[in-house]
């Protein structure tokens, strides 16, 4: 088991490769990739039972990136976990690459279901957890959503269903960065308080600092012990985390850095060109 400090170093490398990919592609979503990086790192390196040598291993835990636009973070995480060579990140979004603009389950090993249309991944994850209950499979389904994404009604329809079936094999993580494309979530269409909403929907809820690796690991540990109901972890995050000029800027939701910005960002992240 790796320590939180070790995971932080991995997360740093994941951010670097995600950004190199976005830069090479000339498009993509750095903001939401960086807010979710520590969460994905904690999950893939400290929580989930997966095998990069056998992506379809029987009994593996499954993760659905419902906020599919953060694909660069997922790909770089899978790459560093050993699913494929991190250098492949440079093919991101290029014609013929298995690293599509949004995760494609038929192209990229380790991607459980194709996402990109917001809200649907959450429902699909509920479906997966229901299937595992029916099939008496002892494993977990994790689903990661954006906070803006919670404005999709489908999320709340599925949340009711998850509670109805007492899906304690389902853990949802909300990447709570309080930004979406048109601005601040609280202004665009307020979703807060998310914890109280999920609690009212019958979920067990935990709040956590989404960039505190130890706290994330501890929270997942607690979440795995919950029985009888689904768990929602509200992770307070910073959009663009790790790069000063991207942090808390809605403008960096879906924009690639130019050469200069990449150099600056890599310097801040501790990487090299």
């Amino acid at each position: 088991m790796k320590t939180a400090a070790e995971l932080n170093m991995i997360a740093r490398d994941i951010r670097i490769d995600a950004l190199r990919g976005i830069h090479a592609a000339g498009s993509g979503h750095p903001g939401g990739s960086f807010s979710v990086t520590d969460i994905l790192t904690a999950l893939y390196f400290g929580v989930m039972n997966v095998d990069p040598a056998d992506p379809c291993m029987e009994g593996r835990d499954r993760l659905v990136l419902s906020k599919g636009h953060a694909a660069p973070a997922l790909y770089a995480t899978l790459a560093h976990r050993g699913f494929f060579d991190p250098e492949e990140m440079l093919s991101l979004r290029h014609m013929g690459s298995f690293l599509q603009g949004h995760p494609d389950m038929h192209k990229c090993p380790g991607v459980e279901i194709s996402t990109g249309s917001l809200g649907q991944g959450f429902s699909a994850a509920v479906g997966m957890a229901i299937a595992d209950k029916l099939d008496k499979k002892d494993r977990r389904t994790f689903v990661v959503t954006g906070d803006g994404e919670l404005q999709e009604g489908i999320i709340w329809e599925a949340a009711l269903q998850a509670a109805k079936y007492g899906l304690d094999n389902l853990i949802a993580v909300v990447d709570w960065n309080n930004l979406q494309i048109d601005g601040v979530v609280d202004t665009v269409k307020k979703v807060a308080p998310v914890d109280a909403k999920f609690a009212a929907f019958g979920w067990e809820v935990f709040n956590v600092d989404g960039h505190d690796m130890q706290a994330l690991l501890d929270t997942f540990e607690k979440a795995l012990k919950v029985s009888g109901k689904p768990v929602c972890i509200v992770a307070k995050t910073v959009k663009g985390k790790g790069v000063s000029f991207m942090e808390n800027q809605a403008g960096w939701h879906g924009k690639a850095p130019n050469d200069e910005q990449l150099a600056q960002a890599l310097k801040e992240l501790g990487g090299e060109m």
Partner: protein
């Protein structure tokens, strides 16, 4: 056509909204967290009190749009074509088309030229979905000038409509104030180039490709008629019948699935009124992928060259 000025039809839409908003105080514009991409942000700046932000809730937006329209407004509701026509489909059907609400669904980022975002964001089905709805007009403008002209006419008319707009810049085809521009009418095809050897019926970005193809064909001694079928519904049957009778071979060209779109609409007319050979250029029953728009158009067979090949078949 390298040196021609290029503007995306979504840009023209954004400008139209600001102008039209000055003319009509009952115009309401709605966004689902994509105001910058849909180009509705200019209207938001000019008339913040008449701009309704719905957040990432396309279904909610369309039903709200119906409610606002049925209370006496004209509403422009925008998202990506995938979500406006796809995600919100049944709501557009029952709350907008069936109620005949005065909602103009203005969808941007239609087709494969969405590019790098890939398959989940490239829709080839929206025209088919919208076209089967009774009372829904379906308009796919070819350039910026025709976008504004057709929008003005349609927004001046009561009732539901679907506009399909693009992400990428397209060459200027019509010149503002020109004779050609003055002849643009919703529901009426416009013949851009004359010819009787083959008729190319196109819309959206494929009109420019059709013109390029016609030029190439001319060099090979084939005179192609080029028709801008900007309105897929109600479709201009007369223009199709004339093309069938006078040219004997129709090539349809669309940035959309050949199942259910412009090609199908044309075939429905010829099959019933004047059987004619049709060759369809478009997306052939498959999903897209990430790539640059030009690369994708080439791979999936939606270039001028593909139209030339189809015309010579």
């Amino acid at each position: 056509m390298a040196d021609v000025k290029k503007t995306a039809t979504r840009e023209a839409y954004g400008k139209f909204l600001v102008e039209y908003g000055a003319e009509r105080e009952d115009l309401i514009v709605m966004s689902a967290d994509l105001s910058g991409s849909n180009k509705t942000d200019g209207f938001e700046k000019a008339y913040p009190e008449r701009f309704i932000e719905c957040g990432i809730s396309e279904q909610d937006m369309m039903a709200e749009a119906a409610g606002i329209a049925l209370s006496g407004h004209v509403v422009a509701a925008s998202s990506f074509a995938m979500f406006a026509a796809g995600r919100a489909y049944e709501i557009v059907r029952n709350s907008i088309a069936h109620t005949k609400a005065n909602v103009k669904v203005c969808a941007t980022h239609g087709g494969i030229t969405v590019g790098e975002d890939g398959a989940t964001h490239q829709t080839f089905e929206d025209i088919a979905l919208m076209r089967v709805l009774p009372d829904m007009k379906v308009i796919v403008p070819a350039d910026a000038v025709s976008t504004k002209i057709l929008m003005k006419q349609e927004f001046d008319t009561d009732g539901p409509a679907y506009f399909r707009l693009g992400r990428s810049g397209v060459p200027e085809i019509y010149i503002e104030g020109s004779d050609a521009a003055s002849q643009l009418k919703v529901g009426k095809a416009y013949e851009i180039m004359e010819g009787n050897d083959v008729a190319i019926i196109a819309n959206g970005i494929m009109v420019a490709a059709a013109m390029e193809a016609a030029m190439e064909l001319r060099e090979r001694g084939v005179k192609a008629r080029v028709i801008d079928m900007h309105t897929v519904k109600p479709i201009d049957e007369d223009a199709i019948i004339r093309a069938a009778e006078e040219c004997g071979h129709i090539v349809t060209a669309e940035e959309h699935s050949v199942i259910g779109g412009l090609g199908s609409a044309v075939a429905e007319v010829t099959a019933q009124k004047c059987p004619c050979r049709i060759t369809m250029v478009g997306q052939h029953d498959c999903f897209g992928e990430s790539g640059k728009p030009a690369e994708l158009l080439k791979k999936y067979g939606m270039t001028a060259e593909d139209i030339v090949k189809a015309a010579l078949q």
